[in-house]
Symmetry: C2
Subunit: 344 residues, 2 copies
């Protein structure tokens, strides 16, 4: 029997506004190979996913599921290595990289059936959390199925340098659209313009009202907006309704501007539903889990794009298990470019 | 040559808030048979349509088209009789009832090609303005195509006793849905419950906040809301987002609560787009004119329903051409049940 000293981040307090360290407690314990039942493995976590949806699950209101239970390990996707396995028939072996959903703990016991094997010779294993993971899945299916992009259409993406946004923007380019990326710093817009080759970029911090945003959108989208892929909400989204074309498709993937309290106690904003009428536009909410069983379909199309770099990506890696709650908090200040990952 | 003394309501001033008499000027003139070119007829207007969309066209903002031009006759649908005709090959004759789009004038010259002949032996001619006219067209296609009602689903209709709402509610019943009608008086909800046989009714004036509305909706829709057909907007619609089911369809046909100023200078309301995400719901704006060329399809299905009274209707008839602007104003106070029509 081998024993490991384990650390776990326990979600211990519901945030009312922003989530930070004060809502978590670091727990130390042990884990050992004798605990393994048949069909199970011990994973040594290496990379932890940090996602905006974690804050939604901390809302006191009904969301898409029950709130994240208090006094349990913070859930989340993890990339790690199998260090012990109790299954002689499995294709998996000690030393293999896997994707698991074992949350914020250094070591975890998982059912082998819940693991996805990763091949580090094909693409970097961290891509399973970002550009070939959950964020990519909703970027892909949200844009293609709810957005129905057609060649030559204008697509605007908010949070365009985020984990989902960077993928949406590039798929839209691949589909022959004109793509405008909105992000929150000159460094990010430089990445969008120079590395991802978007047609136009907007640093929203230089256009800090709906009116200013409408003006800049009107200038960079003189032919109007056909698709808006929204990760942000708030006044950026208010402005979009002024510039949409007939039969525009608005995809709601995230509303991160509202996650520091607006979920439970909504912000006020201008009513806009009459504009949906003028333009016969559609708003559709999309969620990654609806496409869980279509992961292979997405990977089949997207993996070659990542390998040949027709789809590029950034990751922001925060080092240190102890920084997980701080990293989550960083999301709400836009401190990441691309997928935010914590390395143990 | 025969000459007629004519009266016309001229739209002379843009309303900032509610529209009323002060935005119109009554003009007297003459019209005579010598003015008729080949292919034209003179119509003696009998019934005038009064519609919420008229206020939208008075917005200073872009809507679905250019604003209604000032200093021209108020446009709108009319049912009248042909009293003179200059076309020997036409199927139309003097004395025929027709639907025209000649607006608020007692006599009008119209191209025969723009007229739809009405048969008063089949259904009352006023139905061409309501239950078998434009309001029915958007009720039918909005519910069927954007709403996609399935048997057993729960459909909530705001403005349920209005021209569009009364039709939506009954089509939903015919399609096997549970139907909840929201209206603004006990008299209206009595009509909805006793005459239209809806499953539940809500007088919104007895639930005058989003929270109160949410509570009553939760009570009458314990299985949640699958389809919301919105003619009203405002706090009623805010409450809906709290009670919708997974993959709910929200159809925006009208937002009459916003037409007394909110079009140009939007009211504030709670942001709700994150809820679209939770429920993967869809909002779609619909407009009657998108289905202009499918009128026959609608009439073929709906005319038998009207004839055999499986689809009932009310009309509110205001008497007197001089009352047209007053009648338009009445819409925004919910003074009509069913289609509001002015009889010359």
């Amino acid at each position: 029997m081998t024993e490991f000293k384990n650390k776990q981040w326990i979600y211990t307090k519901r945030p009312e506004k922003l989530v930070d360290d004060s809502h978590y407690t670091l727990n130390e314990s042990t884990i050992n190979t004798a605990q393994l039942r048949p069909g199970q493995a011990i994973i040594h976590s290496e990379f932890f996913s940090v996602d905006p949806y974690m804050r939604i699950q901390q809302s006191s209101k009904d969301t898409w599921e029950e709130p994240h239970p208090l006094n349990t390990i913070q859930g989340g996707a993890v990339v790690g290595k199998i260090i012990a396995i109790n299954d002689i028939q499995s294709d998996l072996n000690e030393g293999d990289w896997v994707l698991s959903y074992t949350g914020w703990q250094e070591y975890a016991i998982a059912d082998i059936s819940s693991l996805r094997k990763l091949d580090p010779r094909e693409v970097p294993v961290t891509t399973a959390l970002g550009v070939l993971g959950m964020p990519a899945r909703i970027a892909y299916f949200g844009l293609i199925e709810a957005g129905k992009p057609k060649q030559g259409e204008t697509v605007v993406v908010s949070g365009a340098s985020g984990a989902v946004g960077q993928v949406v923007a590039q798929i839209a380019k691949i589909k022959g659209c004109k793509v405008v990326g909105i992000a929150g710093s000159d460094e990010k817009t430089k990445y969008l313009r120079e590395t991802l080759n978007l047609d136009a970029v907007i640093n929203y911090k230089k256009h800090s009202s709906a009116l200013a945003m409408k003006n800049v959108l009107s200038r960079v989208c003189p032919e109007g907006i056909d698709i808006y892929y929204d990760n942000v909400g708030g006044y950026i989204t208010d402005a979009i309704f002024e510039v949409i074309n007939l039969r525009a498709r608005i995809i709601i993937c995230g509303q991160i501007s509202q996650y520091s309290g607006g979920l439970d106690d909504p912000e006020l904003g201008p009513r806009f539903l009459h504009k949906m009428l003028y333009k016969r536009a559609t708003i559709q909410g999309v969620l990654a889990r609806d496409y869980n069983d279509r992961m292979d379909e997405m990977l089949k199309e997207m993996t070659p794009w990542v390998k040949d770099e027709s789809l590029k990506y950034k990751e922001t890696i925060v080092h240190g298990f102890e920084n997980l709650p701080k990293a989550l908090n960083m999301l709400f200040f836009g401190k990441n470019t691309g997928k935010l990952i914590v390395k143990r």
